[in-house]
């Protein structure tokens, strides 16, 4: 078989770290964006801590799932992707909203 299934003792750890990877990636992305939007340095630091925790989860996940060779490269790519994507998307958001500065949103009447 090409893959070695997760050991019974690591079964819980495997899916728990898998879920944590996605949740931490989201928390990292949210804190990163919030930090950028508000200009608060503490949020930026919290974002980096989340990313650090994400890296730990990726490492545990890779270990308990017996990743090696190709699968290990996949883990690395995933960790890099989650680190880079929020930065890329932030730049994209800023770029797509650029004309807002020239044509600000009108109140348009009755807003809540």
């Amino acid at each position: 078989m090409l893959i070695e299934p997760v050991a019974l003792s690591d079964f819980f750890l495997s899916f728990f770290t898998a879920a944590s990877i996605i949740l931490l990636a989201t928390l990292y992305a949210a804190l990163f964006a919030w930090g950028k939007a508000s200009g608060r340095r503490s949020l930026g630091i919290a974002a980096w801590l989340c990313y650090l925790a994400l890296l730990v989860c990726v490492a545990i996940f890779s270990y308990v799932n017996h990743f090696s060779g190709y699968w290990l490269a996949l883990s690395l790519l995933m960790a890099l992707g989650y680190g880079w994507m929020p930065r890329f998307i932030w730049r994209l958001c800023a770029a797509t909203h650029q004309p807002d500065h020239h044509h600000p949103h009108q109140p348009g009447g009755h807003h809540e």
Partner: protein, 499 residues
Amino acid sequence: MSATTYQDKAAACWTGCKQSYAAFQANPHLTGGQKLAVHYFTVALVLFMAQLLFGLLAGLQFLFPSFLYEILDFNVNRMVHINAMVVWMLYGFIGSVYWFLEDESGVQIVGLKWGQLAFWVLTGAVTLVVLVYLFIQFGAGNDTSLWLINEGREYIEAPRWADIGIVVVVLTFFYNVAATFAKGQWSGIAGVLVLDLVALAGLYLAGMFYVTNISVDQYWWWWVIHLWVEATWEVLVGCIMAWSLMKLLGVRRQIVQTWLYIEVALMFGSGILGLGHHYFWIGTPEYWFSIGGFFSALEPIPLVAMVVHSVYDSGVHRFKNSNHPALAWIIAHTFGNFLGAGVWGFMHTLPQINLYTHGTQWSASHGHLAFFGAYATINIAFFYLAAQQARGNVWMGGDLANGWRWKAAAILLNVGVLGMTVALLIAGYEQSFIERAVEGSTWAGYFAAQNHPWFMQAMVWRMVFGLMTAAGGGLLFWDLLDIGKGEQRPAAVIANATE
């Protein structure tokens, strides 16, 4: 009461229905396309209620296996539960597109009569198929039953005559959309939508031919189940979402179209070959482990990107909106899609863990939250947009009369589905552990897991949350019939940022 009295009551009811329908058709607040959309939304809502009802019956049969045995068996209840879901989603999507088609293209729908005919044909066919499922679902399968009763493929059990009908209806829908845009204005949303509808009709064909090799059969079946649902539906929802964000929040067209293109690119980049995570254990070559694992790991990235954009946009737009219930359901869509498709999906897609979890209640847990989060929520948001416009584009902001109703319905439905998801996750974990990992996928392991207290307790909790979901569904139905009635204030006006 005598038979004559019943006849009189039925006649009065029929007359009342005809009068209500005539009043609806004369509604000056709706365009022809929007009236057709409301037809689709109405049937979608009825099917949603049917999905909840048959889900409850199937859930009860886990707890009381003899309940309705040989009257309405588990396999039939489950099949109606799932097929009602698939079909009400389609009704909701088609209705949503008809809802915005004239606004987006700037002209009237080209083949409105054909669209109306297709609606009644589809609704008649769906009714007939459900009646056949409920009353003629016994006996051996053969070539005749494949054409007339059940095609035998899980989730897409419709008999072949109905399958052909679905493709014809989707092609009619495609004609209406493409021809209307061709006559009016094209936009980025229009282009993506038209191309997606080609795939929507085309991919369904993969589930319509029969092969005797079960691996080959499953190979093509997943083209419908994964590619149809997780690719073409996702893009369709992306188009619907893009338009609704412009109308509801006043987001600029450039922004939503940029995101739509990115979503399509990511869908092609990860979603299509993510299909591989279904090919692990069906007898396909081992390279699917690598392809499925790699692209499945990439699939949640767009969801993470969406978070960054939400934070950015909430700062820019401050959630000013014209329809509170619709916005609440779009927010529910964001969270539900992320948790159901992203977190729950990634937990068990890699083959190292999927070996144990494939086909257990774990899949059901993922499926419940993903379908509800990604698709049901966006349809419900459109139901509220339609209710608002049908009542004369009335106020649907704060201090709405009976506003508790939509809030309670939203809470009950979301908490109910999330509760069922967690309960099924516990059941799935127990199954994976005892049946697969400890007992090595034996029959003894299967029965040991099914009778384990963890499994039974989880199923009890699933039932409790299922009842909560059904209560939320009932409240939603009531609210949609009533919301906005008697409201005199006009809807909040959001800056027209669609140019």
